[in-house]
Each structure stands twice: as C-alpha cells, then as structure tokens.
C-alpha cells in the first residue's frame, strides 16, 4: 500500500465574518488524500474554490476549519519559522506567473532554493545541471528570464520546484499563460518529474489538455468535491473522459 503524502480533512474556508450575510463560503468540507507518486489535477469552473484549496493545502492561506497533513506533519500547528523551513525543504511551487526573479539568470533562479538552504556550490551545480538537462533548458541557463520564451521560463520554474527534492509539488495554473506548444513542453516536464523522480504533484488547472497528463482529476464546484476521475487507457481517452466529466459537473465550455 502506498504512503499518504497529503491528507486534508473537512476543509472549510469562509471569507468575511462567518454568520454575516456578506460572508462567502469558498470551501465547504473538502476531504482529499494524495498518495506518494500521485499526479493529481483539481479542476472546476471559475470561482469554484480550486485555487483557494491549493493555497490552503500548501499553507499559503489558512483554512477556517479542518486539518491538513503533509508527510505526517500537520501544517496548521507549525510556527511561521517552522513553516518556512518546511516549505523550503519539503514543498515545491509552480505558479502561473510570479515565478522568476528578473535580476537572476535562469540557472541562478533554479538554484535559489538551495542558496536559501545554504547548500554547497558543487551540490547546486550538479543538481541544477541535472534538472535543466532533464527539462531541456540547459542551453538557456545563462540567460535572463526576459531573454527566453514563456515556456522556457515555466520549465525553469518547474526545475526550481524540484531542487530540494520536495515531498510534494503544488502547481497553480502552470500552463495558464502559455501557448499549446509550450503547454505541451511544460506538462511533459511535470510528467517526467512524476514518472522519473516519482515526485507527487498536485495541480490546479482549468485546461483539459493539461489535466489529461495527470493520473487523477478531482472536480470541484461550489466549494465541494463533486467527482473524481482516474486515468484509464491512453491520454487521448482520458482527455475525452475529462470532457465528459466536465459536462456532468457543469462548467463553461469556453474554459476548455
């Protein structure tokens, strides 16, 4: 039986003062379990609570109630400095934007987590070359973010998320700003990460194409999990299955 990497129980999130009319319930009793080596996508229409959920699971936002456990550690009970250390050593992040520092080269951006962890230069060099080669961006390592394409930037962000061998990588709309070719390249990076490094990935997306790379898709609507789809067959078949599920759950067709 595989090990549970992330477990969230009865997660609720209310914006505003609970009980007041103006309060908005973004999440309403969500339970979720992610096993080691999973590659999970969370999908749902705009405003369904998917980004809020991943923010809570990664410790960026605090939930109103419920518990989140990552690698046997309950994150809400951690102090800010414990959480910072935990984030540095055990979590990886990839965002739609807000990823790379313009002042640093691609390679320097990638090694940043190890710099913060005061690792040796040799270790940084070896690891950076390894992940950059894995994701095909070694030749642009010396360039600055504004000198490379959006897809290469995002692959650099994916590389950086892997630098400290995290327990789990969180990705929020990683292909949101990319064209289909770059999206394909980035999603292949995630796939490689998952298959070759056995990294657990939890990704929020509204892109069915991106979701079809995952092993499992969780559908969320109005703050609740409404459906779960496991990958069976080829990616193309899974793509069709996700489309069917989306039709059942209900969402906007132009979000595909």
């Amino acid at each position: 039986m595989s090990e549970t990497v992330l477990e969230a129980k009865h997660i609720t999130k209310v914006y505003g003062n609970a009980g007041e009319e103006s309060a908005t319930k973004a999440l309403n009793g969500v339970d979720i379990k992610v096993e080691a080596g999973d590659f999970v996508a969370i999908m749902g229409p705009s405003g369904s609570g998917k980004s809020t959920l991943v923010d809570i699971l990664s410790g960026i936002t605090k939930q109103t109630s419920g518990t989140v456990t990552i690698g046997n550690r309950q994150i809400e009970s951690m102090s800010p400095s414990e959480m910072a250390l935990f984030r540095r050593r055990s979590l990886g992040f990839v965002f739609q934007e807000f990823n790379l520092l313009d002042s640093l080269t691609i390679k320097e951006n990638i090694v940043l987590p190890m710099v913060l962890d005061k690792k040796s230069s040799d270790a940084m060099e070896t690891k950076a070359n390894e992940v950059m080669s894995l994701f095909g961006i070694r030749e642009v390592g010396h360039k600055y973010p504004y000198e490379v394409s959006g897809g290469q930037q995002q692959r650099a962000a994916v590389s950086r998320a892997l630098m400290n061998d995290p327990v789990i990588v969180f990705a929020d709309e990683p292909t949101g700003n990319l064209d289909s070719k770059s999206s394909n390249a980035v999603m292949n990076c995630f796939k490689t990460m998952n298959e070759e490094k056995n990294t657990t990935i939890l990704m929020v997306t509204h892109d069915v194409f991106a979701a079809s790379f995952c092993k499992k898709v969780i559908f969320i609507k109005d703050g609740r999990i409404t459906l779960t789809a496991d990958k069976k067959g080829t990616r193309k078949e899974f793509f069709s299955h996700i489309l069917d599920c989306q039709a059942v759950v209900g969402g906007e067709s132009d979000e595909i």
Binding site: D55, S81, L85, F98, L116
Partner: protein, 515 residues
C-alpha cells in the same frame, strides 16, 4: 552562489527603485546639514542683527527633520511596495520573516550610510554657497564661513534616529506580511485600469491646483489672512492633495482620453511609451514635487520671516518713542540728548500733550490730548479743525470704537477748564503707539489746546518724543542706556513705556520662536 550574491544582483536590478529612495534621503540630509552649519556658526550666533535667525533656524531645522521622517518613510514604503514579487518568491521558497528583515536591514544600512555620507559631502560643498546666498538676502556682511564638528554630529544623530524610525515601521509591516497577500499584490498589473472616478478626481485635482494658486495670491496680499494658521494649513493640504489627485487620477484619465481619440493609432508608440514611463515614475514625480516645494519653502522661510518681522516693526516710522513728564520717565535734557544722539539721527519730533478727562453722559475716559499742529508734526498729515472740533484716534490693535464715535459731543475737563468738543472722526491712527499711556488720543484745534494748556498743571502736561534713526538696528545699546537712566531715577512707568523698534523686533522674533 550565496544569498549575498543574490541580494547584490537584486540591488543592481532594482537600482531605479533604490535610487529614488537614496536620492530623497541624500537631498534632505544635505538640506539639514546646510542649515545646521549656519546655525552652529558662532559668528551668526553672536551677530545681533541676526538674532532673528537664531530663532528661525531651529524651527526650520525641526521642520526639515519632521519632513524627513514623513518623506523618507514615504519613499521607503514605495520602494518596498515595488518588491512584493521578490519577497513573495523568497517566501514561497522558504525564506522566513526574520531572514527577510535581515536582508532589509542590510540594504537599509547600506542606503542610510551611503546617503548620510553623500548628503553630508554635498552639504559641505554647497553650505558655503548657501550661507553666502542667505546672508546676502538678509543684507549681512562680515560673517566668515565656519565649520565645526557640531553640524556633523547633529546631522548624523538626527538621521540615525530617522532611519531607525523608518526601519522600525518597515519591520512592523514585515511582521504582518504573508505569502497570500504578496502573491495577490504581485499579480496586479503595474498601473491601473481606467475608471470613471479617475476623470472626476482628476478634474477635482486640477481645480484644487487652480484654487491653491488663487489662495496664494489672496494670502500674499492680505496680512490678516496670511497670519491665520487654519488658512495656511488648509492651503498646504489643498495644494498637496491636488498635486496627488492630478498625478494619480488625472494622468490616468488623460491617457485614457488620448487612447480613445482618433489620432491614437498614428501615435501609438509615443503614447504608450509616455504611459509606461508615467506609470513607473508617478510616485517619484509626486515625491519630487513635494520635495521641491519644501526646499523653496525652507530656504525662503528664514528670509521671509525676518522680512515680515522687520516690516511689522517698521510700520511705525519712529524707532524710539517715549513720554516724559513729572514722575514719568524723568531724565534731564542734557543726559537725554547725550544718550539719544549717540546713534545717527534721521529725524526728531517733540510734541507736548495733556491728559484730560472726556465725559459724555455717564461715560468718562482719561485720554491724551494733542494739538492739530502736533498731530501734523507726528504724522505728516494736515488737519483743519475749527475751534470746538476734534478727532479721536485709536492707538492700539484691539477692535471697536474705544468708547467714542463720530458725530458725538463730549465734554473735556482739565484743571477746572471745561470745553465742549464735537468729534468729526473716530478712526485708527496710522500705527500703534503704546508710549502715550492710553489706547487712543484726542486731537483738538490749536486754540483749544492753548486754552487747555493754560489750565493744566504740571501733573497733566507731558512731552512725547519720537525719533527716527538712520541705522535703527544698531540702537539697542542706546535704548538700554536710556532705560537704565530712567530706572536710576526710579521714574520708569508701566503706563508710559519706552518703545523702540530694536527691542520690539527682538521681542517679535522671540515670540515666533515660542510659537
């Protein structure tokens, strides 16, 4: 690679952000240093004609200090705000708040020390020129430039305190920072979308700027208004707010209009270039506009304050006024002339006056009475009064008619002599006179004065001396000598004080200081 290398690379990249903060700090430090150099110049402190400055400079220096707290803090907050993305990335990668604070502390130390050194060096370079300009404006010669260690210590201590306050405030904000907010802030586009309120607020800003120009013109011409702190404070608020509204909202509205105009596509590159530059630099433009206003204000204020004080004192054309009578300010003619002639005289006016009671119904006043020719001697104005006619002249600043109104008939009594006077006028005299012993005086025709003089005894007959000096600012010693002589005879009078421009000037400056 170490974190220090990352910080240095970021520092270089953010040079534009840093430079605004750095230059603001340098500029205020330079200004502060120049003022303290002048304040701590012993020659300025010992020069009596610069007494006013020794009161005005500390006020100006405190004003620059307070302004620096606001200004450096504002520049620093803008600087920090532009770094949300950087801090957000650090925090998602596991940097904790204390590491962030450490980085901010190191950067601030570099900027603070750098701007202190640059500001003081720039201050050193310009302080000699600054002193020359100020002393030239004030028309003072013979002050040597002097540099002691005191301005250095004063500047360094003040700005260490100010940077400490700014850093404390930043640390307080960093304590509250969380990744969620940083991510949201960083996602916001640079510049804002146009909203309808931008046009309205922009127009309010433009109207506010026009209004502030009008207020300045009105205030400049109206002595009563320009001494009203509420009006002045209101003016400062209106002018700063309107500059902010024009930059923050008016600029956005104007660019929106241009982008929706017909010729936009033809000038697309130029318009967008301007828009981009404006969005990136509008905070700096706002800071610079306030800074330049403050600089002009702070450099001009000692000069204008000294000038205002002088102009108030010189409303009275005479530089020394005093009354002499039996038991009042007694001093022999010989001694008096010896003392008052010690300084070069321009004009000396001596007029006799009487103190009589004026009665109408139940109202009785005790007022000085002068003849029309004395009045003419004193004021240079010609009066043609018939026997029995008189005018009432108010001698102090308190409002009202002081009991006597135009067209009234009064009975004047002096030593048994009774005269009926008819008031042609009751108005304010051209300047305030405190040494006539009353809040107002009566001017009667020469014939009536003659009759009253004959009836007066020596207790009610006085002489009023009014003297103009060529160089009144150097008359302090003479005035003090005259007062000492009077004191020696124990005839100094509270009712009839010796009034001098030089002491009034000093007194006014002292009051400014306490204000």
């Amino acid at each position: 690679m170490k974190f220090r290398d990352v910080a240095i690379k970021n520092f270089k990249q953010n040079m534009r952000n840093y430079s605004a903060y750095f230059l603001c700090s340098c500029f205020t430090i330079m200004l502060f240093f120049m003022y303290t150099t002048l304040l701590f110049n012993d020659a300025v402190g010992n020069n009596e004609s610069l007494d006013a400055l020794t009161y005005v400079f500390p006020i100006t220096i405190v004003a620059i200090g307070l302004f620096s707290v606001f200004f450096i803090n504002y520049a620093h907050q803008i600087f920090m705000k532009g770094r949300n993305k950087e801090f957000g990335i650090y925090m998602t990668l596991g940097m904790n708040q204390s590491d962030l604070k450490k980085q901010v502390l190191i950067e601030n130390l570099i900027i603070s020390v750098g701007s202190l050194i640059t500001g003081i060096v720039a201050g050193l370079l310009f302080s000699r020129l600054f002193q020359m300009i100020i002393l030239n404006l004030l028309d003072v010669d013979g002050i040597e430039f002097q540099l002691s260690f005191r301005p250095f210590i004063c500047t360094i201590l003040t700005y260490v305190l100010i940077f400490g306050i700014v850093l404390w405030n930043t640390n307080r904000k960093l304590d509250k920072v969380d990744i969620g907010t940083l991510i949201q802030d960083a996602r916001k586009k640079e510049g804002r979308e146009y909203k309808r309120k931008d046009s309205i607020l922009g127009i309010i800003g433009v109207l506010g700027m026009i209004l502030s120009v009008v207020i300045v013109l009105v205030l400049a011409k109206n002595d009563r208004m320009n001494s009203n702190p509420l009006l002045l404070g209101g003016y400062v608020v209106i002018s700063f707010t309107s500059v902010y509204l024009v930059l923050a909202h008016g600029g956005n509205a104007l660019i929106h209009r241009v982008k929706n105009s017909r010729g936009y596509l033809g000038n697309l590159l130029t318009v967008n270039q301007i828009h981009y530059k404006f969005e990136r630099n509008k905070n700096i433009i706002f800071i610079l506009s306030i800074l330049s206003t403050m600089t002009i204000f702070l450099v001009a204020s000692p000069f204008s304050l000294v000038n205002v004080t002088k102009s108030i004192v010189l409303i009275d054309p005479y530089n020394l006024e005093f009354t002499r009578g039996k038991g009042v300010n007694e001093v022999s003619d010989q001694k008096m002339n010896e003392i008052i002639n010690a300084v070069d005289l321009e004009k000396k006016t001596t007029v006799p006056f009487l103190t009589a009671t004026e009665t109408m119904g139940e109202n009785t006043f005790y007022k000085p009475v002068l003849s029309e020719s004395s009045y003419q001697q004193l004021s240079g104005k010609v009066l043609e009064l018939k026997d029995g006619e008189a005018i009432h002249l108010i001698l102090d600043w308190t409002p009202g008619t002081h009991g006597m109104q135009k067209n009234e008939t009064w009975e004047v009594t002096l030593g048994g002599q009774k005269e009926i006077i008819s008031l042609l006028e009751s108005e304010r005299f051209a300047w305030y006179i405190s040494s006539l012993g009353s809040d107002a005086m009566i001017v009667v025709s020469d014939e009536m004065f003659e009759r009253l003089s004959k009836a007066a005894d020596e207790d009610s007959a006085y002489t009023f001396f009014a003297i103009q000096y060529k160089d009144w600012e150097n008359s302090k010693e003479m005035v003090e000598q005259l007062k000492a002589e009077i004191d020696q005879k124990k005839t100094a009078s509270i009712q009839y004080p010796v009034d001098s421009s030089v002491l009034e000037y000093q007194d006014l400056n002292t009051r400014y200081f306490y204000l």
